[in-house]
């Protein structure tokens, strides 16, 4: 064996990498010495043109800093990482990219994690059940949901703590895949899976909140998509599965809005009685009368219905009488109504997950200013119809405000984000009144379906007319009545009656929540109350 051959064997053997590393270091040291020689050797001449040299050194420094932003921290650029994944033939480039942290629910159940081998690929154990809340991370299609909002933390460059900086520095020196931190969400994986399962075959959304701090335990939207392959869903323009209906879907709230109207009346210590005939209420001359749904169902079955007669707030609420609430709206007046809209933050978005670069927020609702002259508009808005649109998350947050003494809280999806109070929607006394009304609606009224034995459910149905098809079914509720622990809001697009399409889903979720220990069963309390 010749000398060269033995060198070749040696270089390819066990010591090869060490030899190459040594050569690499040796060169850098020799270069550093030569450059030091250039810098330190006696410099004849004069400094008179120092301005030019200073300018050059600054320019060189700027170039080096810019170069570092790509060469050392290039993994912070998703587009660049995507380019390298698809177009860089170097086999080990991937290993030099970021190993994203995992996304977990509050118990630690993994919702998203990186493939241990192909670290650029994400694995979503829940599949499409939590796809909207968690989002996706796809080298070709980018990021969405928490994957996007918490990207800085997941990649480990949020630099929120010294630990982050330390890890970043060590990754630079080792030139390994940078490791990110895990992100814990307030979601409950089992409740989420249950909710998504209940929505199977439907279009709509489910939101479960904890009213005491705004934590989101479930944020489901149907239909879902495979977060590991979002491309397929992008092509589905009919069902729009990528749309997170819970936070981006805007729907007329229908009768669920009567919760706020009742609160407004209670706050003013008003409980007027109105005559509610079958013929309905004509807010202004020449308008189509606003009627109750009983009138239409009687019309369909050929029964005769005489109307509710003269009723008060309690009867109006438990029967969800449109005739009563449109008159109540007129009695309360446009000014009070507009003030309610501002307090409920209907025209603003609710930020539920804030990140370093992007935050996740619900779509702002839509509700026009009511002029005092437009009586039809006021009457329509008072029953949650007309030009009013809200997201399911907003309806859930307003329900949570009723459940927590009238305080509206910012919904929060990350465990580490603080609970933020946004403002009072109604006084604690008014909230207590509305809670009783909602309890009555479930015990005796439209929400009877949701009267789960063993739980004091307070709820409100909604059947919202929408152009272009059938009604949207709503049910928003909380339990238990005295110390509300969970708020459940269900929307089924084109589902028909809220009591039929949405309330059973909310019921099933409350029962599941009791089983999961998220909600204390309170039979004794119920017995005491009734």
């Amino acid at each position: 064996m010749s000398l060269l051959e033995s060198i070749m064997v040696e270089l390819n053997g066990a010591h090869g990498p060490a030899v190459f590393a040594g050569l690499r270091q040796a060169f850098l040291i020799c270069l550093a010495l030569a450059v030091a020689g250039l810098l330190l050797a006696p410099r004849p001449g004069r400094k008179q043109l120092w301005l030019l040299a200073t300018g050059l050194w600054l320019a060189l420094l700027a170039v080096l800093v810019h170069q570092a932003a790509w060469q050392l921290a290039g993994f912070r650029r998703p587009e660049f990482v995507r380019f390298m994944r698809f177009h860089d033939p170097r086999p080990d480039t991937l290993l030099k990219q970021v190993r994203r942290g995992a996304i977990t629910d509050w118990r630690g159940t993994v919702l998203a994690r990186s493939d241990p081998v192909d670290i650029g690929r994400r694995i979503y154990p829940l599949g499409s059940a939590a796809c909207h809340a968690v989002g996706y991370f796809d080298p070709r299609y980018g990021m969405a949901g928490v994957e996007q909002a918490a990207d800085a933390t997941l990649c480990g460059y949020s630099f929120a703590s010294l630990d982050d900086l330390d890890r970043f520095g060590r990754n630079l020196l080792d030139h390994r895949a940078a490791g990110g931190s895990d992100v814990a969400l307030t979601l409950d994986a089992e409740l989420q899976v249950e909710a998504y399962g209940l929505m199977a075959g439907k279009r709509g959304a489910v939101v479960v909140l904890r009213p005491s701090d705004g934590a989101i335990l479930c944020l489901a939207s149907a239909p879902g998509f495979d977060p590991a392959n979002p491309a397929e869903a992008m092509l589905d323009t009919v069902n729009a599965p990528l749309l997170n209906r819970a936070v981006q879907g805007l729907y007329p709230p229908g009768s669920t809005f009567k919760i706020l109207m009742a609160g407004l009346a209670a706050e003013r210590r008003l409980a007027p009685q109105f005559h509610c005939p079958a013929e309905g209420f004509v807010p202004a001359p020449g308008c189509r009368p606003i009627r109750d749904s009983e009138f239409y169902s009687a019309l369909r079955t050929g029964r005769a219905w005489a109307g509710y007669g003269r009723i008060g707030l309690q009867q109006g609420f438990i029967h969800s009488s449109n005739v009563y609430f449109s008159q109540l709206g007129e009695a309360l007046g446009a000014t009070a109504f507009d003030e309610l809209v501002v307090r409920s933050r209907i025209n603003t978005c609710l930020t539920y997950c804030s990140g370093a670069a992007t935050s996740l927020a619900s779509a702002p609702g839509h509700l026009p200013q009511v002029g005092s002259h437009d009586r039809l508009l006021l009457a329509q808005l008072s029953i949650g119809q007309g030009p009013m649109l809200l997201t399911p998350l907003h309806v859930a947050s307003l329900t949570a405000a009723v459940a927590s003494d009238g305080m509206l809280r910012q919904p929060r999806l990350r465990v580490d984000s603080p609970a933020v109070e946004l403002g009072r929607v109604m006084t604690p006394e008014a909230a207590a009144t509305v809670r009783d009304l909602m309890r009555d609606a479930v015990r005796h009224g439209t929400g009877r379906v949701a009267n789960v034995p063993g739980l004091t459910v307070c709820g409100k149905t909604g059947t919202a007319e929408a152009p272009g098809g059938g009604e949207h079914a709503w049910f928003t509720c909380f339990a238990p009545a005295r110390r509300p622990e969970l708020v459940v809001t269900v929307l089924v697009e084109r589902g028909g009656y809220g009591a039929q399409a949405a309330a059973p889903i909310a019921c099933a979720l409350l029962e599941e929540a009791v089983e999961l220990g998220l909600l204390g069963s309170d039979i004794k309390e119920q017995e005491r109350a009734e």
Binding site: L11, L31, G37, P42, G45, V63
Partner: protein, 440 residues
């Protein structure tokens, strides 16, 4: 005045010592340079040996030539009693040595020994320039301004007449690019012109320079001709470079910072205007703003270069161990991407410090030149190398749009290497002019 001050400074070395400390310094610096280049070379050879147990003459010829060149330069400069700045000599050869290793690494010498000719020619040109222009003789070039101007125009005209279009610019057959030589010629012309009219350019009002009517308009008109030719050549980077160099020379001639400020603003304005008017430049601006608009088309080259840098990381993967072949035109315009991959960010920083040290020495030598012509000429030559370095490196790292300029001493291309060496030789001669004057 300047001569007297430098005399007192330079009178200190022990009289009677034949080779002053500069020469011993040169030996040490050249030795350090050789060691660094050999270390780089060993790394390339190790990768080659890792793949095949063959070590032919072609593998060793570049290093042998380089080492021989260093030895000849040391002996020749010692024999002629070179008293200039040793750093300028060692700096030029350090950069050229790293360039030689990188060219070997990207396979530039595979075609045969004739590929080594530019290195030999460049080193020869350097030595010849230092010897011919040294000992203060560089001042005679003051009278060569007009011939230099005509020669530069003639070179460009020849290229336009006989060249062929390649990658948006015009080259002579074999991609030999004589317009490189136009750079020092134009610098020589501008130095001679500004030297003659330097008093006229020193007028300022409220800190702003007031251009003299006749010399100013004359310079503008005379400068317009080569700029127009570079536009015809499709080499907007060259016109940008030369205009920047002219600004530095105006500053060196007048010592008015106002010229630097106004001139830099004018050059940036011209660059933006050119970027707006030329379709070729528009594309480069667009790629610079967002290479991800067309990642597999226009943005391909710069994104591949950035991927190579990313693969290199902080310490690099070792010379010879990377995959710089994935970057288009890596051997010439994008050699810095290959360097970034193989010597890492740390190595790149050292390399740029070497460039910075070289240029600082160039300007110091210029500032201390015995004649105003030497100062202006030296400042212009240094500015030319410095600006070319910055524009090339900034282009590869996407800090600025691509200008198509080569990296001095390192990029592939005989004309570029020879020109860089000649310019370094002139700078070394200017540095010696000062010393020769001083120790007279």
């Amino acid at each position: 005045m300047s001569a007297r001050r430098s005399r007192t400074k330079q009178a200190r070395p022990v009289p009677g010592q034949a080779a002053p400390s500069g020469a011993r310094g040169l030996s040490l610096l050249l030795l350090l340079t050789l060691v660094a280049v050999v270390a780089a070379y060993a790394s390339v050879l190790a990768v080659k040996l890792c793949n095949a147990p063959v070590l032919s003459g072609a593998h060793l010829a570049p290093l042998a030539l380089y080492a021989a060149t260093l030895l000849i330069v040391r002996l020749a400069l010692g024999a002629t009693g070179y008293r200039g700045d040793a750093g300028l000599v060692a700096g030029a050869f350090l950069l050229a040595g790293i360039g030689m290793v990188m060219q070997l690494r990207v396979g530039a010498y595979a075609a045969g020994f004739q590929e080594l000719l530019p290195l030999a020619l460049g080193a020869g040109g350097f030595l010849l320039t230092v010897i011919l222009a040294g000992k203060g003789r560089v001042r005679h070039m003051e009278h060569a301004g007009w011939p230099a101007y005509l020669a530069a125009l003639g070179l460009m005209a020849v290229v336009i007449a006989f060249g062929q279009r390649f990658r948006g610019a015009i080259f002579l057959p074999g991609n030999y690019n004589p317009t490189e030589m136009a750079k020092p010629l134009l610098v020589l012309f501008a130095a001679a012109y500004l030297c003659r009219h330097r008093e006229a350019f020193t007028v300022t009002r409220l800190g702003l320079p007031v251009p003299p009517v006749a010399p100013g308009a004359g310079l503008l008109l005379l400068w317009a001709a080569p700029v127009a030719l570079t536009v015809l050549l499709g080499d907007l980077g060259l016109s940008l470079l030369m205009s920047g160099v002219l600004v530095v020379m105006l500053y060196a001639a007048s010592r008015k910072v106002g010229w630097l400020v106004v001139g830099c603003l004018a050059v940036v304005g011209l660059a933006l205007l050119g970027g707006d008017l030329s379709a070729h430049a528009q594309v480069r601006f667009a790629v610079w703003r967002n290479p991800f608009d067309d990642p597999t088309g226009r943005g391909w080259q710069v994104l591949r270069a950035l991927s190579a840098l990313y693969a290199g990381g902080l310490w690099g993967c070792g010379i010879g161990a990377g995959a710089p072949g994935t970057v288009p035109i890596v051997s010439s315009d994008f050699i810095y991407a290959a360097l970034g991959e193989e010597i890492g960010w740390a190595g790149c920083a050292l390399l740029l410090v070497a460039f910075g040290a070289f240029c600082t020495r160039g300007w110091r030598a210029a500032a201390a030149a015995a004649t105003p012509f030497g100062t202006i000429f030296g400042a212009g030559l240094t500015a030319c190398l410095a600006a070319q370095t910055i524009l090339n490196v900034a282009g590869v790292t996407k800090a600025l749009p691509l200008t198509g300029l080569t990296l001095p001493f390192i990029s592939h291309g005989g004309s570029s290497l020879v020109t860089s060496f000649v310019m370094a030789g002139l700078l070394a001669a200017i540095s010696e002019q000062e010393q020769a004057q001083g120790s007279r």
